[in-house]
Symmetry: C2
Subunit: 429 residues, 2 copies
């Protein structure tokens, strides 16, 4: 079996063995299979999709192409969570401390943002002093001590996935459910968890535009994750409006901190974000063996008691972060309603593009990020507003000359009411 045979078998829709996926992944990692053969295989796999069992084999082959984080000896259960990414998605900053406060152990490896989707590493690096380049030993020791550690993904984490993902990005082979599934799960397995909570987002601010697409990916992640010997729970959650109020790196850190410190003072947008955090945390506890009532009660308790907030501070301090020096933008500009009506749309993609244009995100991997810029959304869907009410506050490094892109993100209609959307659904089929 050589690379050409491997491509031919995929091309003809024949089923690959685990050994064939090992050949592919070793070849990708070592460059012993050149890019042009990998990309021919990827297109064949796009048009002749992998079965669930093949996707599980590819996942394991990718996970084992690099070094796994050894979790043995750490307090159990080991849990990880993954979100497919969205606008204003600071969920990891909430859930890591909540999980730790509930007695779970989490070592999380996160990525950077690209395009309209923010990255957890970028958010944390807005905190002066916060270290994300931790060794495996440092991550492990910190997780053992306080229950939570978070580092940037390293080159030796599922390196075959890194190579294949970079190629998919430039060969129009990204949008394949089996390939997306293997890419997500391989990094989680290499990261060492045995329980995995997956948050698949849908809507204009997410990778999956429709709930049907998101359900399909969620179902694939659940089945393949289970076949790869993980305990998996999968939710599809709404990303057709921003999550919480803040969009932008330092602004999101501040929002997460404030919600953990004062959950009872949350605004309507903050309450919606906290509600999702509570659901996700409860599902995670249920996944690790608790019953639903106990799980919900424990999550509410660690929030109300301040235990989760204490974990947040313990964690940020353990990684060297100084929240007192969180950067603030030099300019703040309010966008006010100029008519009466009902808020019928808050477009997350439009807002995210405007924040990226301020320097708050990357269009290419080489772009520099301004940590302090972004926006705060003050209104919620179906809020009644009158002229002069604050809709948004823009945080920027220079005066804002053109308000049009910001105004375009929020629709105010005279009488229409935005349809109700479910915030979350557990996917079990």
């Amino acid at each position: 079996m050589n690379a050409i045979d491997l491509i031919r078998r995929r091309r003809d829709g024949q089923v690959h063995s685990r050994a064939e996926f090992d050949l592919l992944c070793t070849g990708a990692r070592d460059a012993s299979i050149p890019d042009y053969q990998l990309s021919a295989w990827l297109m064949a796999a796009y048009l002749r999709p992998l079965t669930e069992s093949e996707t599980a084999d590819l996942t394991l082959a990718m996970a084992e192409s690099g070094t796994r984080i050894p979790m043995e000896g750490l307090p159990r259960p080991w849990l990880d969570k993954h979100s497919t990414g969205g606008v204003g998605d600071k969920m990891t900053l909430l859930l890591g401390p909540i999980f730790a406060a509930c007695g779970l152990t989490t070592v999380k490896l996160s990525g950077r943002g690209l395009g309209i989707t923010g990255g957890t590493i970028d958010k944390l690096e807005s905190i002066p002093g916060f270290q994300t380049q931790l060794t495996r030993d440092a991550l492990r020791d910190q997780a053992n001590r306080i229950g939570f550690a978070l580092g940037a993904q390293t080159q030796d984490l599922a390196p075959a996935d890194r190579v294949l993902y970079a190629l998919r990005d430039v060969t129009a082979t990204v949008e394949s459910i089996p390939l997306i599934t293997a890419s997500i799960l391989s990094k989680k397995i290499a990261g060492g968890c045995d329980h995995l909570l997956l948050d698949v987002k849908f809507g204009r601010g997410a990778f999956m535009p429709t709930i049907e697409d998101a359900r399909q990916l969620a179902s694939s992640l659940r089945k393949v994750g289970t076949a790869a010997r993980l305990r998996v729970r999968t939710l599809v959650t709404d990303m057709d409006e921003p999550l919480g109020a803040a969009i932008g790196n330092a602004l999101e850190v501040a929002e997460a901190r404030a919600l953990l410190e004062n959950p009872s003072s949350a605004t309507a947008r903050g309450q919606r974000l906290l509600a999702l955090a509570e659901i996700l945390a409860s599902e995670a506890l249920e996944l690790t063996g608790q019953n639903e009532a106990n799980a919900r009660a424990q999550v509410k308790q660690v929030l109300a008691s301040g235990a989760a907030a204490a974990k947040f501070h313990e964690w940020v301090a353990a990684q060297g972060g100084d929240l007192a020096r969180l950067p603030e933008a030099t300019h703040q500009t309010d966008i006010l309603a100029n008519a009466s009506g009902t808020v019928t749309d808050i477009d997350p993609a439009q807002l995210a593009r405007a924040v990226v244009a301020l320097g708050g995100g990357r269009m290419t991997k080489a772009d520099f990020i301004r940590p302090e810029v972004g926006a705060i959304v003050h209104v919620s869907l179906n809020d009644r507003v009158t002229p002069g009410d604050r809709l948004l506050t823009i945080h920027s490094a220079a005066p804002i000359n053109n308000l049009a892109p910001w105004r375009a993100a929020i629709t105010i209609a005279e009488s229409a009411v935005a349809p109700e959307r479910p915030l979350w659904t557990v996917v079990e089929d």
Copy 2:
């Protein structure tokens, strides 16, 4: 439109415009589209095949990616012929001189052999002094003077095809009728012809194993060639036994020479080869406007009068070849029948592999060829043989120790008779 858009459109089965094929071909030629994107496009095109009209556009885009041989000013009609290649296929050595003797003008660019398929350039280079590296001006001047010139394909002949073909070879995307069609026709169009005779071979010694595959390719070549403004005639011809008696470079040159010089003394195998040559030449003349009876008569006449033989010598001399010094093998070994019976099979692939093993062909592009080695087949299908009759003569550079591969190529059965196969069929659907 960039390379990723191009790949995505092919992936999704959308129809490419001529401008999109120009983008692809310019990108392939200049390496402005990297190999990994070209190979993703190739796999998408394999699994989402090009339409006939798209294939014609790709053909023209590939032909125009390099320099075309300008035929203007040369005596018309300009004709080229192409064979998909086989074992013992020395047809160009016969047809070039026959065409020229019939008043057609042919500038032919040929390739080298690889695997079991021989290449015309290798055959001609077995003649001491024969020059195949001719400039375009030299080819053109010679064709103007004597009606026929033959050179090796150069780097600037349809360079986009050269790049794409090399990638197809290593990405399991060779066996695509539209891609094969565009590859063949683009080089012919760049070579300058306006009439094209296509000989699509099928059988164990050919690229297409079955007559159905060959018919499909022939039909595609005819339709796409016509759409690309060529006058095309297409035949499918049998390649389930060697063509003629000789396999091996110098041996095939000697066989072609002998058949042209003494067509009436041909053996049964030689007669079969000459019959095919006459059909192909007559079809070519009909394609350029003659009626069938005149075409057949003219071909017979140039063979019988020695005009074709004279053109053969004029041509070889014009390119510097010295037939008196054609190399001969130091060892000749006869394979004799060891039982009585009927010859029911002469396996061309088995014979060709044995000749390649002697050094008469290449397994990789870097292999050196021994021009003098090969084999002569003495028997025809359904011949009756008795023990001691000569089946084959092997021409080699060293004594032959193992006769088994040679014996395995010829099947002698006690009473069975090999089924009749049509030597040729014109494809017009």
